[in-house]
Amino acid sequence: MTNGKRILFLLRQAPYATCHALEALEAVLVAGVFDQQVSVLFRDAGVWQVVNGQDGSALEARTIGKVAQALPQYGVTALYVCGESLAQRSLCPADLVLPVTVLDDAAQARLLAAQDAVVND
């Protein structure tokens, strides 16, 4: 885990209305199998990607929450979520489909500053 580049995926878009969330998560899964230090920050409407209770079959679509749940299996375990983005949507960590670390704005600033590259959705 100490080799490679520090790459953060910044995910800010809600799922389903566009395929940005799905395609961005697919990129994260691929990045996970490379020998890099990959992390993910869910922020703003992007926190909806990891909310529980989703059922993509209602739209004949893949369930984005299930795609996100696969992240740890692909070696992506540095998962962060913006606390303020959760609060604005009346969400708490227990509403999410997988364990994530809640960060305040200052901690997110430090996370961003520590990256070699940031890829967004």
């Binding site: 809600a14 389903y16 209305a17 529980n52 209770g53 989703q54 949507r89 009346s90 969400l91």
Partner: protein, 96 residues
């Protein structure tokens, strides 16, 4: 005949509410259903604005896991219900 407003993105609800008449109906669909989430403090929403007939499209609500998260007073409608709203309103205005 009253107007039907289709709100397909959450932030667009605010603009819609500025010009929607008291008898108009508002249907939240696609990402617009997030605007129906019982409000924390601000953000995408506006669901605690003046009372108008507020609906949300069932497949969009279910896909997003919002079944138990929508504010009280929002009526879930099926695609058939959507068609019924179109029958009873004119014009239809889309906000995205």
């Amino acid at each position: 005949m009253p107007t039907l407003h289709l709100v397909s993105r959450a932030p667009a609800l605010a603009a819609c509410l500025e010009v929607a008449g008291a008898d108009d109906a508002i249907l939240l669909l696609e990402d617009g259903v997030y605007a129906g989430v019982a409000a924390g403090h601000a953000a995408d929403d506006g669901a605690d604005a003046p009372p108008r007939s507020l609906f949300a499209l069932e497949p969009d609500v279910r896909a997003r896991g919002l079944g138990d998260r929508l504010g009280a007073g929002i009526t879930i409608v099926s695609d058939a219900g959507f068609v019924g709203l179109v029958e009873r309103h004119q014009p239809i205005v889309t906000w995205r």
